[in-house]
Symmetry: C2
Subunit: 338 residues, 2 copies
């Protein structure tokens, strides 16, 4: 027998290293998580629902997992990134319609006075959303949002907003998908806005993004080409009770697992847990001021209007078997760039 | 060398027969179709869009195909099966609310006078839809609809409505799925109604059914268990311009291929064909009174209010490169039981 050439030996060794690395990766699907009840709950749920013949087995078609976005999959403080988008769009809107410049809330936004902007009323904010998110064809909106996402930077990390996703949650989504789960984003944010980047940054395609949605109107341009115009007509306010309502409308199945981080996710988690068999409900608690932010007011953390996690939600989680994820103690790493 | 046992020879032969059968099946993915321009258009489209490196290649994630249901995937004459469901539900509704019995349209429906029922106004029909499709929890509606589907029979074929799907279209859906397409139903029928059976009879899961949809309201029963109540509040009228609007809302991507059979599908086909690259738009023409029904009024066929295919739609198809499927000449077989 001829001795194998050195190159063959190297190839064989490389192959066995690859296999060993794969085996190692398989032993821990959630490397950014510290061992603890949260990590354990996720792994046990996935194992139980995918063990063929087991008492909690879930057929692949019914494996639906829903994830809130702001504060659950990426940073939401100090202000939702979509609100930053709307504020940044105001100069272009005013340029196109100069008559807006003297009226509110445009005058205040154009002044650049941050304190005054932070005090805008809900009604003024709505005017801002209507002016910056509706009135244009869907494809024009998509192009504008994409351009902004490519250039805008978060003030604290000086990085694109799309890099501020939580590495541990990215791992959960990948782990669930690898086990036959369809992962959905169910967000209070704008459905059309989140769809612009969800596929690239989370691997979640547009048809698996459920969000606050307005109507569109079908029409034709001068050349006779059809387009959809974004209208200021709210179809779904995908927050609080709107989340299970949106899940029924867009998915039509009750989730097996749901992840959130605030009072806006309460009904989605209740609805998920009310189904038969194994169900998983989890809430991210932002208790890490050093590596990210700390806010509640649950557990004595500072209160926040953005992503409020009240003590009552914390107590309900305890009573109903929802698992609270402590960012500080459950997450080894927060961002991929850490 | 020992001679192989007879059983081994049989097994080997069986295996090679299976392979041969599979190879044969692969040569014709659409056995219920006669050779002709319609079959050719489907096969060429699928081959062109799935040939890696080819000029018309479409990445798997973008492979979206939408199918109208009534008249495209199953029989819609003489009356949509969902209307039959609503009529059949009236006695139960009147029993629960006896005060309805003396008012219209319930009085006429309860009389059983078919001619009078056929003449009910649009407004009366709407009252009927509201009374039979809303006001109950989503799960109760689902159970009622399922029970009806299991027992109701089409008067002509004396079979469950769910058996009256077109074998050639079933083959198209399977063929497209085998080539990485996500198949969606986009129907003017009720989204919740079609979701009850679409997975079982078409292999289309609930989350891939887009239809006329009403709002739901989240609430709790006496035991504190959450449920969604079906409300008489129209969110999406998924017909005509409502089809591309519904596609944007529920899918968020422009289809690559769309199939319809009536004026209600015009905008969906226009929207599909207005995209870049390879796009397929097809219309089923019911021109086979012997094996199914013949109606138009296109091509001089009898006019019908149900599933109207006007001559203008036929002419538009010719101008815009949409392919018309002749049920009579393109389909070798109509139903699986033929």
């Amino acid at each position: 027998m001829k001795r194998p050439a050195l190159s063959m030996v190297v190839l064989a060794l490389a192959a066995s290293f690859t296999l060993a690395a794969q085996a190692l990766a398989q032993t821990d699907p959630l490397p950014s998580w510290n061992d603890g009840p949260a990590k354990k709950a996720i792994v046990e749920f996935v194992q139980a629902t995918t063990t063929q013949g087991g008492p909690q087995f879930v057929p692949p078609g019914e494996r639906i997992a829903t994830f809130d976005q702001d504060g659950t999959l990426w940073v939401e403080q100090p202000v939702y990134s979509q609100v930053m988008y709307c504020l940044d769009r105001v100069p272009a809107v005013v340029k196109a319609k100069p008559e807006l410049a003297e009226g509110e809330p445009f005058k205040t936004v154009m002044s650049g006075n941050r304190e005054a902007i932070a005090k805008l009323s809900m009604k003024d904010l709505e005017k801002l959303l209507v002016a910056t998110l509706t009135g244009m064809p869907t494809e024009e909106f998509r192009a504008e949002a994409k351009k902004w996402l490519d250039t805008a930077r978060d003030p604290r990390w000086k990085r694109p907003y799309t890099e501020l996703t939580y590495q541990p949650m990215q791992e959960v989504m990948k782990y669930m998908r690898a086990n036959g789960y369809k992962t959905y984003i169910v967000t209070g944010g704008g459905q059309d806005f989140v769809r612009v980047y969800a596929e690239e940054i989370y691997g979640v395609p547009p048809e698996q993004v459920v969000g606050t949605a307005g109507g569109t109107k079908y029409g034709y341009d001068k050349a006779g080409k059809p387009f959809l115009l974004k209208e200021p007509r709210l179809l779904l306010n995908d927050d609080k009770a709107g989340k299970p309502e949106g899940i029924h409308l867009m998915i039509g199945r009750r989730p097996r697992a749901a992840f959130g981080n605030s009072a806006g996710d309460k009904e989605m988690l209740e609805y998920t847990k009310a189904g038969d068999g194994a169900r998983l409900a989890m809430l991210v608690l932002h208790d890490d001021a050093t590596r990210e932010y700390a806010y509640g007011p649950a557990k004595g953390l500072r209160a926040s209007k953005v992503g409020t996690f009240p003590q009552s939600l914390y107590d309900q989680a305890g009573k109903q078997g929802w698992v609270v994820i402590s960012m500080k103690s459950d997450w080894k790493q927060i961002f991929s760039f850490d």
